[in-house]
């Protein structure tokens, strides 16, 4: 019987096959695409299974690869946490790979597909390695490979300047983040073993070390900000809404669905597993960053009219929600309340999984729409539900899930997070008691705004009539894309209605990290009811709610159709004025107008309405011009000044090289004098 970790290593190795296959000459594009993506789908699926087994089995395995430095070979480790993330990443990349077969075939005509295939596979393999890594070097190498390959994926269409810009921004931020993480490993390794040998770099050594608080804090802050830059936590999010839209949609599904999660993994791994003991304010910090990202993220998303950009901002929001869970868990841990910490942690991790699923689904849907309409601007779309019925259903499921509405998965994790919030009274610190419920309010606001946002998305894209100039040529997505989206949609539903089962499975993680479990099914109600704390406290039964709704729908439908009533379809009444045209519909800009009014001060908004009145009746303008530009304030607040400083410094540095040889000689002269004076 092959052990999960070996299984996963072999499957990771399997990702090389497509890469080699690409190099192999004389393969038709079609064959290439089918084979390579099937391979990656299969490998991902196997890894997902391995991860599942690892969590369920509750055992921890370690392996040392004969790679890396002789003194510091790659250590790999598969415990419950990594198993869980393997499962998430594996599942989504399986689904997306299935989807990609059709999607990439759609691109194959005029774009460099080989590049896409190579880096796609590298990217996924690197993500798995990140999760499996058990020493700093292996982790960093996989981490950076992940970043680099996704950089090339973002730069897929290098002809467009916006893609280049986005890719560049992304890569630079990713690299800076990576260096921060690296430094934090340096701190930990240095403290752990004094670095007189290479073994200090293994996570085991770091686990054993007891860090002095000062250094632990430094390490935590470094790693947290490093990971935050990758996860797109506000204010480190600027690259995200640039990079995700321009990447091919299957890639953006992966980037947004699982790549961001590797950062979450890193945070959990370092804080809970490696450092272990920490003061409460770390958790508070994470919580605050989470709340800010959640609210700001969804607000920015609400303002977008570029579909993929909007989804990208929603990733920011959801990362925020995940961080809320983790932050709460950290706070509870620091006050030594393991059971509650377990609840919060599982809430966060559960949302991680859910977000992977529905965000993947939404990006896949966006890809399908993009393929069909060649349009990213929602205000040019409309009524697609009649052209792409399947896609519309799946997309709707995605929308409901991400809006945290029952009976789908998004709601469950948010519900768990609320429960965690409501445990705040048991905290010793009065301040925490008081402030944490306010966080809950912000979370509620986030949820409601998300719902609003996705009413807008679905309504504008799929409902109403086509807004574009030329009539739509949209057609339904191909079979593989549909299968991919369907799988994702089904997972969303399952995670939504059977949370207790999944949480039982996840209990091993918290048992491993915190020594406490939720064992929800142990409650009086059994698997049907989710009772995270105890049945007295709160309970939710997905299946019953679903069954109830379906049943009532069915009954009413039947009752109302006993009497055959005829349905007559007629054009909409236009109140006798000028005929209704498609431009009269609400579009995304007009939909979000009230929110712009209310939350406008958070954005840098430029809005112009130019009227050209008729000579006769100024009241009835001939035409009017509307211009709206919404900018992220953080760019101006943080990044602009920073960039200016760098440019200034580089100019100063350039001044050294002024071409006069005398002055060069003076440099060396002065250097000598200086050093001699130092003696």
């Amino acid at each position: 019987m092959i052990s999960p970790i070996e299984l996963s290593i072999f499957s990771v190795a399997a990702f090389i096959i497509p890469v080699i296959f690409v190099m192999a000459a004389g393969v038709t594009k079609r064959l290439l695409i089918h084979v390579s993506f099937s391979v990656s789908a299969l490998a991902s699926l196997i890894i997902a299974i391995a991860g599942f087994m690892a969590v369920a089995g509750g055992v921890t395995e370690q392996i040392i690869l004969p790679l890396g430095l002789p003194a510091l070979p790659f250590h790999l480790r598969l415990d419950q946490l990594s198993g869980f993330f393997l499962f998430v990443v594996g599942l989504l990349s399986f689904i997306v790979s299935v989807y990609s077969i059709g999607y990439v075939s759609g691109l194959a005509a005029d774009r460099p597909v080989k590049r896409l295939i190579v880096f796609y596979n590298l990217f996924i393999a690197a993500m798995f390695m990140v999760i499996l890594a058990d020493d700093a070097l292996c982790f960093m190498v996989s981490w950076e490979v992940m970043a680099a390959s996704s950089y090339f994926l973002v730069m897929f269409e290098d002809g467009k300047s916006e893609n280049r810009r986005a890719a560049y921004l992304y890569m630079v931020m990713a690299h800076i983040g990576a260096i921060l993480i690296l430094l934090s490993f340096g701190v930990m390794a240095g403290i752990a073993t004094g670095l007189d040998s290479f073994t200090g770099y293994t996570f085991d050594a770091m686990r054993e070390a007891r860090f002095p608080l000062k250094w632990a804090t430094v390490a935590f802050l470094l790693s947290f900000f490093g990971f935050a830059a990758k996860a797109g936590v506000i204010p480190f999010h600027v690259w995200l809404p640039e990079a995700h839209p321009v990447a091919p949609s299957n890639v953006s599904a992966l980037m947004s669905g699982v790549m961001l999660k590797t950062a979450i993994y890193g945070i959990v791994r370092i804080t809970f597993d490696i450092i272990g003991v920490f003061p409460w304010w770390w958790g508070a910090l994470v919580l605050v960053f989470g709340l800010v990202s959640a609210v700001m993220g969804v607000l920015y998303a609400l303002m977008q009219h570029d579909l993929k950009k909007l989804l990208a901002y929603h990733s920011v929001e959801n990362i925020g929600i995940i961080l809320i869970g983790i932050g709460l868990s950290m706070i509870f841990t620091s006050f030594n309340l393991p059971a509650m910490a377990a609840l919060a942690l599982i809430a966060g991790l559960y949302h991680t999984m859910n977000h992977a699923m529905f965000k993947g689904l939404l990006f896949m849907g966006a890809g399908a729409i993009l393929n069909a309409t060649h349009e990213r601007n929602m205000d040019e779309m409309g009524g697609l539900i009649r052209y792409m019925p399947w896609t519309s259903v799946f997309f709707l499921i995605g929308c409901i899930s991400i809006s945290a509405l029952p009976p789908f998965n998004g709601f469950v994790s948010e519900w768990l997070t609320f429960q965690a919030f409501l445990l705040s009274p048991s905290l010793p610190s009065p301040l925490m008691k008081l402030l944490i419920p306010l966080g809950a309010a912000l979370l509620a606001l986030t949820g409601a705004l998300a719902a609003a946002c996705f009413v807008k998305v679905f309504g504008v894209i799929f409902l109403g009539n086509w807004r574009g100039h030329n009539p739509p040529v949209a057609a339904e997505a191909g079979w593989s894309m549909r299968i991919g989206m369907m799988l994702a949609a089904l997972t969303c539903l399952c995670f939504g209605i059977l949370p207790s089962v999944i949480i039982d499975w996840m209990d091993n993680i918290s048992a491993n990290l915190l020594g406490a479990t939720l064992n929800t099914t142990a409650g009086v109600y059994g698997w049907m009811w989710l009772t995270p704390v105890d049945p007295e406290r709160a309970s939710y039964s997905g299946p019953l709610v679903l069954v109830g709704i379906v049943a009532v729908c069915a009954i009413t439908y039947v009752l109302l159709h006993v009497r055959p009533g005829k349905i007559s379809r007629v054009p909409v009444w236009d109140c006798g004025f000028q005929k209704l045209n498609n431009k009269m519909q609400y579009n995304s800009i007009s939909f979000s107008m009230p929110f712009r009014r209310i939350f406008g001060y958070l954005f840098d908004i430029k809005e112009q309405i130019r009227l050209s009145p008729q000579p006769g009746h100024p009241a009835f303008p001939e035409m009017q011009h509307y211009y709206l530009r919404i900018r992220d304030r953080f760019w101006g607040w943080i990044y602009k000044p920073f960039i200016n400083i760098v440019v200034l410094l580089s100019r100063k540095a350039g001044m050294l090289q002024h071409g006069r040889i005398h002055l060069y000689l003076i440099y060396s002269f002065v250097t000598i004098i200086f050093l001699l004076a130092l003696l």
């Binding site: 009524g383 429960q419 409501l422 912000l442 109403g464 406290r537 709160a538 709704i549 009269m584 609400y586």
Partner: protein, 315 residues
């Protein structure tokens, strides 16, 4: 106690809710007419409307999609499910544990989600306008209502309604500032959620003011009936939710018939009174401008927050 009784009470309660909800709306309208010195159509008017709509044929817009047709059923069914969860007459409900307050709110949110989609389905300006406004109001109302509910559930150490009701109805009436704040907040939010004046005016089709009506403007026949009934249920359920949270006394704890009857009777009285209060508010206030709502709901949110703070500081 034996599950048959549970299921029986469950069904009974659902039926009661379904039947009483229109009457409650009717009652409110009637009181309103009286206060405004008009002759009222009586408590039964809503039933007549619904019945009439049920027998009418459906006229659909040409481009209406399945969403548009599915929504009424969905809205109605969510209301029914909610009705089966809130302890309106009895605490011994079969389905009660399947959803706590947060789930309830989320259920209503889902219904609203679909209503808003339906509003955008036809692609008229009105529908979109209604959806947009509705979602805006909701997104402001939801934090407030959750906060006020959190206050209650902090006090009751639970988010499941049953236990809240048990905890509160058990003890004698104690004056808890947190609960009072929460109650005020709750009232304000319910007014918003149920689309009453001063937030929305169910009686108007004036494009400047209408919100909920704008969304369902294109509905007709049985669809409209379901939507209307759903709206009434929604209003009713919010009120009963408030009752369960803030004045739960008298809700039947056991399943003997007398107690349940008493509970029903008590409930009717409470409803009557609350209806009066609502009418007073509605006639007292004028419909607000859309962007004044932020202040209104902000006030609600403030109240709720004060409730939480009061809970931690004063109790």
């Amino acid at each position: 106690m034996n599950p048959l009784h549970l299921i029986f009470t469950e069904i009974l309660q659902v039926l009661i809710v379904l039947t009483v909800a229109p009457a409650f709306t009717g009652w409110v309208d009637m009181l309103k007419c009286w206060t405004q010195g008009r002759a009222s159509a009586g408590v039964m008017q809503p039933y007549r409307n619904i019945a009439k709509l049920f027998v009418k044929d459906v006229v659909l817009a040409q481009n209406a999609s399945w969403i548009f047709r599915f929504t009424p059923y969905f809205v109605f069914s969510t209301a029914v499910v909610a009705a089966s969860v809130i302890p309106v007459i009895s605490m011994n409900l079969f389905l009660a544990p399947s959803a706590d307050i947060i789930v309830l709110i989320a259920l209503f949110a889902t219904a609203r989600f679909f209503t808003a989609l339906a509003g955008m389905d036809i692609g008229t300006a009105f529908g979109g306008m209604g959806s947009s406004r509705e979602m805006m109001i909701a997104s402001l109302a939801e934090p407030a209502i959750l906060m006020s509910i959190f206050t209650v559930s902090l006090a009751g150490r639970s988010t499941s309604l049953l236990h809240i009701v048990q905890t509160f109805s058990g003890g004698v009436l104690v004056f808890r500032p947190s609960i009072v704040f929460a109650a005020i907040a709750f009232v304000l939010v319910v007014i918003a959620e149920a689309g009453r004046i001063p937030v929305d005016n169910p009686a108007t089709h004036l494009e400047l003011t209408m919100v909920h009506e704008a969304m369902i403007l294109e509905y007709s026949g049985r669809h409209l009936a379901l939507m209307e009934w759903g709206a009434m249920l929604r209003f009713f359920l919010f009120v009963t939710l408030g009752i369960a949270c803030f004045l739960p006394w008298g809700i039947a704890a056991t399943d003997n018939v007398v107690e349940i009857a008493a509970a029903v009777f008590l409930m009717l009285i409470k409803l009557a009174v609350i209806g009066g209060v609502v009418v007073l508010i509605e006639t007292g206030l004028a419909k607000m401008r859309l962007f004044r709502l932020t202040e209104f709901l902000g006030a609600a949110f403030l109240m709720a927050t004060l409730g939480v703070i009061a809970f931690f500081i004063l109790e």
